[in-house]
């Protein structure tokens, strides 16, 4: 299908100020989208409250408004600029929320403005837990099991069904007071009873816990003709329980067989159709049980995401640019592949290298006041990231550590370790065992500096199995790290003489 000629002016919503979890990646995608639409001859109007962005440079859009991203201000822009459509999928959650607000307040209807890229129904279906779960059930995919209960007996029956660990969330308590994770019946009884008491309505949500499962993401695209492609698969080095934004991630997925990967691809195809993202990119996340292989759908983002910036650079496929072109009616086979120029964008990129992303944190200001500040969990804490390319994981990983600008030149062997290699190797057997236990026990709690402690653990004689038990990091990755340590030890056997 050729591009739409019924649209003349398109409004793009930016993502506003930089916060953790929503940073310059949306400036990157928004700028690409503005350029792509202008290239196609549309008049592009932009709103973004953050002037420290490329997209708000005067020569980028036809008209730029540095105003608060609220329905009130957007309406004023609408009155003045009379856009035919709004593209809300480039500015992260902020832009999607603004689009929903415009819809709820009847502003879109009042001025006859169309949302392109994602419709209100799709956004709601993806964002509402209930609607999303119903949609997944409809297409035969599993989500994490959960149940509201009002008595311990009820809770016990449910936990028999799903097994430990489970997450306990009392209803309507501030900041989740009285909740927690239970690994056995004793803990479970305590926490459920405490939750029932602390909840003002005497209700507790029990959820199957996916902590320690393998985590994967697929960056996918779809066009109006229902053509579907996976741009990139991403595997999280850190297991479920650590936010993707705080996880080391690699692309493409490393530890799945083709059949296992195709299960995710088929699921992603069904999900994007069912949620109804007609055009553009989405990010879909899965958890896989490391023992049984059971696949759980975690969530989908019906927009370009933090990961799509990574996927674009890992593969050379400009997701935001192509998403913008799909939003105005092109199909994937009508858009040229950005790299070859002669073949179409309707393909799945293959690469002959591995990409590693490592998050960068900045806890120094907080650590003294709260020693728990660098514990990683379901809320993202990293303030940036680096990515690197290599012909194997070890190479890409080492390059990424050098690039972090934390004063490290790699995974050990740079004289910057808290525990010097020679010191650890020189310990007596008893001392080694003691230190090993200490380190393994520290590693059970995900923290920003754990990666270096994995190395110390190997140097005190910890095995891959012991480290897996402590961290639930897939043994494939642990073996890769072990190989780096073994190489270092091998180097020690040489001398300049």
């Amino acid at each position: 299908m050729p591009k739409r000629t019924d649209l003349k002016t398109i409004l793009i919503i930016g993502s506003g100020p930089i916060v953790i979890g929503q940073a310059c990646e949306f400036d990157y995608s928004g700028t690409q989208a503005v350029k792509a639409l202008k290239e196609e001859g549309y008049r592009v109007v932009l709103i973004n409250s953050n002037p420290a962005t490329i997209m708000t440079d005067p020569e980028i859009a036809d008209a730029t408004y540095i105003e608060p991203i609220t329905a009130e201000f957007i309406e004023k822009i609408i009155v003045k600029e009379k856009p035919d459509a709004i593209l809300p999928t480039m500015g992260g959650q902020t832009a999607l929320n603004a689009a929903i607000e415009l819809y709820e307040k009847g502003i879109l209807k009042k001025y006859g403005i169309e949302l392109i890229g994602a419709k209100v129904d799709s956004i709601k279906k993806a964002e509402s837990r209930d609607l999303f779960n119903i949609a997944m059930e409809k297409i035969g995919l599993e989500v994490a099991k959960g149940k509201f209960i009002r008595s311990f007996d009820e809770a016990k029956n449910f936990v028999k069904e799903v097994g430990f660990p489970v997450i306990i969330r009392p209803s309507f308590t501030l900041g989740g007071t009285g909740g927690g994770t239970a690994y056995n019946l004793e803990e479970f009884e305590n926490k459920v009873n405490r939750g029932l008491t602390s909840s003002p309505v005497g209700e507790v949500l029990i959820e199957e816990s996916l902590i320690g499962w393998k985590e994967f993401e697929l960056e996918v695209m779809r066009d109006v003709n229902d053509n579907f492609v996976v741009i990139c698969s991403i595997e999280n080095f850190d297991p479920m329980g650590v936010h993707t934004g705080d996880s080391i991630t690699v692309a493409p997925a490393q530890t799945l067989s083709d059949k296992q990967y195709q299960v995710l691809r088929d699921a992603a195809k069904k999900i994007i159709s069912e949620i109804g993202v007609e055009t553009g990119g989405s990010n879909i996340q899965f958890a896989i049980n490391p023992v049984t292989g059971r696949v759980i759908v975690i969530e989908m983002n019906p927009r370009v995401s933090r990961s799509s910036a990574l996927a674009s650079k890992a593969t050379g496929f400009p997701i935001a640019k192509i998403a913008a072109k799909l939003a105005i009616g092109y199909t994937l086979d009508e858009i040229p592949n950005d790299i070859t120029k002669t073949t179409p964008a309707s393909f799945e990129p293959v690469i002959d290298y591995i990409v590693v992303k490592i998050p960068r944190w900045d806890f120094d200001k907080f650590r003294s006041s709260n020693p728990e500040s660098d514990v990683l969990g379901i809320q993202m804490k990293s303030v940036g990231e680096v990515m690197s390319f290599g012909r194997n994981f070890r190479e890409a990983f080492q390059k990424a550590i050098r690039s972090l600008e934390i004063g490290r030149y790699g995974f050990g062997a740079d004289g910057k370790d808290i525990y010097d290699t020679e010191y650890l190797l020189g310990l007596s057997a008893v001392e080694k065992a003691e230190n090993k236990e200490k380190i393994l026990s520290k590693l059970k709690v995900p923290r920003s500096d754990n990666i270096f402690y994995i190395r110390y653990a190997f140097l005190t004689g910890a095995t891959v199995d012991e480290l897996y038990d402590a961290t639930k990091i897939d043994k494939w990755f642990l073996n890769q790290l072990k190989d780096i340590v073994l190489f270092e030890l091998d180097l020690y056997t040489y001398s300049f003489n």
Partner: protein, 363 residues
Amino acid sequence: MRKGKLVLENGKVFEGFIFGFDGTAKGEVVFNTSFSGYQEIITDPSYYGQIVMMTYPLIGNYGTNLKDSESIKAQVSGFITGNYEDDWSNFEGIESLNNFLKQNNVTAITGIDTRELTREVRSSGAMRGIISPDISSDEKLLNDVLNIPSMSGLDLVKNVTTAKNYIVSSDSPKYKIAVYDFGIKKNILREFLLFENELKVFNANTSPKEILDYNPDGIFLSNGPGDPAALDYAIENTRALIPTGIPLFGICLGHQLVSLALGGSTYKLKFGHRGGNHPVKNHLTNKIEITSQNHGFAVDESSLNKDVIKISHTNLYDGTNEGLVHNKYPVMSVQYHPEAAPGPNDSKYLFTEFMKLVDEYKK
């Protein structure tokens, strides 16, 4: 691992380390761009006589398992990787790729600059090559390479087809499908068994009479290795079966045989299509399918008589032919692999479409 060499017929030498079976491998060197699926590829009979190189550099990560083999043994002559990863991890895995290759007598080489090798094959075309632990004389190895028979004009099907005909069936089958085995992948049989089918798998050289004596509701022509134009008997048999009006479906080599039987011609591609990301346009629906591909020969689209057939599918990378349907008879065939294994499942609908033809015919 001990040192080894890969020598190509153009004289190019790559040094690496031998893994798998400690021996020598000879064959045509081709590359596959899939990230995963090495076990399927190694056991796919269409790769008979070929040394397969994976462009993705990390191979072995998830080991090997009981589900992924596409035939009862390894079929490739040799295997090449950039980085062989011996420490595998996967919930379905049972052993390392190294052990799998050892048990299957396949010699492999790792530590090769596969990017450079890919460039070499892309620019010079598919070449014969040898993997050898004997690194003393490149000249001797090159001499061995030049004695390997070239792929063109070679009937490799006779090495991989089933010697004895056999029957596999789903519970309470409704239809009978006669399957020509030119080196069939197991997943094609698995796909057919999802329908109510009894499958009788025949040796490649079975006469049309014997096929018709089975009284089939459908006929299937499988994938397979080598040059389709060398298979005179199969082309003739296909030519005889098309006008019977029994629905006929061909995949890969099967597609080439249908084309040749209808008067078309085939040619050898410079370096072939092997991977799981090729976009193919279906002209009947205008939709794009991401397809699994493995072929070194292609059908010359201009040689097909458009009064007899319709072009159904085209490769969007290079415009080569990917499928046809017959105007008069219920005959359909595709160059790519709807059964995937490895690769995306976008094209599984072709089995459903064929079964519709079978159902109509039976009525």
